[in-house]
């Protein structure tokens, strides 16, 4: 991948390997994301996209390789430490607190991060602006929300942590086409505000249009890299992921 040399790296991954028990999923991933960049990761079901994001935030340990995020090595850090260092993660499966209200779930993103807490009112306003529906349902328990509403809360919670690097795992899952569009637009806006975004998506067309760069993951390895526009034109991508 061509990284603009003038820009600092927000994320630098070298030879990353990870898995679950005896199953190895990631086989030596290299990935460079410059500060302020928007990078998309695409790949079939089970390719290892979620595993990659989970390893980056320290939810599962790396077996080999290095990860440097925002100038800091993440080796051996707990997920909490990684998040405190400015990395936000909208996880697969949303991972909300079902017995807490929408408001409590959203605020929890800032509750344990002193810097983010200071900016909580501003960030909350941004989240409610993005998803007015959440404001209406502020007092509803997260466990009783619809799938799409839960997805909005998960995105809102990550935004509350005021991240400098945001990892997003399939945000459009379960959202209506119109709402997906506003989520993509919001991600683009957050990115324009200076946040580096790494987006995992099944909506390949959309994410390649948004992305500065993209990688294609297959069975735990990076098979293709390029700019969003390059990959949109790539025959293999068109055949396998865009069914063209």
């Amino acid at each position: 991948m061509t990284v603009a040399t003038s820009r600092k790296a927000a994320l630098e991954v070298r030879g990353l390997e990870a898995g679950y028990g005896k199953i190895q999923v990631l086989w030596g991933i290299d990935l460079d994301v410059a500060e302020g960049e928007f990078v998309a990761i695409i790949g079939a079901n089970g390719a290892g996209k979620t595993t990659l994001l989970r390893t980056l935030t320290g939810l599962i340990p790396a077996r080999a390789g290095t990860v440097t995020a925002l100038g800091r090595s993440l080796r051996g850090l707990s997920a909490a430490r990684v998040v405190k260092g400015g990395v936000g993660h909208v996880p697969e499966g949303r991972q909300l607190f079902p017995l807490m209200t929408v408001r409590e779930n959203i605020d929890s993103g800032a509750d344990y991060l002193p810097d983010a807490r200071a900016r909580a009112p501003r960030n909350r306003a941004f989240v409610y602006d993005l998803f007015p529906r959440l404001k209406e349902r502020e007092r509803q328990l997260a466990g009783t929300l619809s799938g799409g509403e839960r997805q909005m809360v998960a995105i809102g919670r990550a935004l509350m942590s005021d991240p400098r690097l945001l990892l997003v795992d399939e945000p459009s899952l379960g959202l209506s086409p119109a709402l997906s569009q506003s989520v993509f637009a919001a991600l683009k806006q957050i990115n324009a505000d200076g946040v580096t975004v790494v987006l995992v998506e099944q909506n390949v067309q959309q994410s390649l249009l948004l992305a500065d760069h993209a990688v294609v993951l297959e069975t735990g390895e990076v098979k293709l890299r390029g700019t969003g526009a390059e990959l949109l034109r790539h025959p293999r991508v068109r055949e396998a992921y865009l069914s063209l």
């Binding site: 939810l59 998040v83 993660h89 996880p91 949303r94 807490m100 929890s108 993103g109 509750d111």
Partner: protein, 288 residues
């Protein structure tokens, strides 16, 4: 039937319920937050009792003051046991977890037997033990009354902590979604550690009180594990109010059977199993 006897049994049951609730909320805390069914919970209670006994025998410290020594000591013991064993089995199958805590319980029990032997130990000559009040033929001892009040304050304090403090919110977050909690910046393992240590602390305080109320032996803990278990089963998880009512129900049932049934005293433990049995069967009917 003699109504004074009946009222006396009810009052004794209510007073005993405080201590039962105290031990049960500790057990429920470990199950609810960490997901660990701690069969050694009653052993923390027993260790608290024997620490109070030893502090009295060796240093002449009154159990009222021992509370302030035993509480931090049991918090530390809980922390050490969590760090050295429990945290390694968090993702293990439940059966393995139960075997581990069962084993820890047996080790603690046998250590106590080695140190103190199997005979009941009495904290002798405390002036306030004999104090009691007579109300219309019903007697209320100062010690059971004080233990009821202390227990109630601690149980309500725990409720307040869980519902209204940052630590409580963190515990609820970790209990409801471990991954989500890690992703908002909570050190999940540290929250587990505090929850487990706090659970041991609550049991230890209960132990100090039982050392004054009864003359405990090193096997006193297991009976309380069972009682707490019955209460948590009746209450269901995750609500302190439910535990208070269940403790009341269970303790009063025990007291009534012990007083009103001929030879009822020998049936005390049977009462708990009967209640667990009845509740589980009733639940399974409801879900069919």
């Amino acid at each position: 039937m003699d109504t004074t006897l009946l009222v006396q049994a009810l009052v004794s049951g209510v007073l005993a319920a405080g201590l039962y609730a105290l031990v049960s909320v500790g057990l429920a805390l470990a199950i609810g937050v960490i997901g660990i069914v701690n069969f050694a919970h009653g052993e923390f209670f027993m260790v608290g009792a024997f620490l109070a006994y030893q502090l009295f025998v060796t240093f002449g410290i009154d159990p009222v003051w021992s509370l302030f020594i035993v509480a931090p000591a049991l918090f530390a013991l809980g922390g050490v046991i969590y760090t050295s064993t429990i945290r390694f089995v968090l993702k293990a199958p439940e059966l393995n977890q139960m075997l581990l805590t069962f084993g820890i319980g047996i080790i603690l029990q046998n250590l106590a037997l080695l140190i103190w032997g199997g005979d009941p130990r009495t904290i002798a000559g405390i002036s306030y033990r004999g104090i009691g009040y007579q109300i219309g033929g019903v007697s209320i001892g100062l010690v059971p009354l004080a233990s009821f009040v202390i227990s109630l304050v601690l149980v309500l304090g725990l409720y307040w902590m869980l519902s209204s403090t940052p630590l409580g919110r963190a515990m609820r977050a970790v209990a409801q979604n471990r991954t989500g909690a890690a992703l908002v910046g909570l050190e999940v393992n540290r929250v587990y550690l505090v929850a487990f240590a706090l659970s041991a602390l609550l049991a230890g305080i209960g132990g100090v009180m039982i050392a004054v109320i009864q003359s405990p032996t090193p096997v006193v803990g297991f009976a309380f594990t069972l009682k707490a278990f019955a209460i948590v089963v009746v209450a269901g998880l995750g609500n302190v109010r439910g535990i208070l009512f269940a403790a009341l129900f269970v303790a009063v049932a025990e007291s009534l059977v012990a007083t009103m049934v001929p030879n009822g005293d020998t049936l005390r433990n049977a009462v708990f199993f009967a209640i667990i049995f009845a509740v589980l069967i009733r639940r399974s009917w409801r879900t069919v």
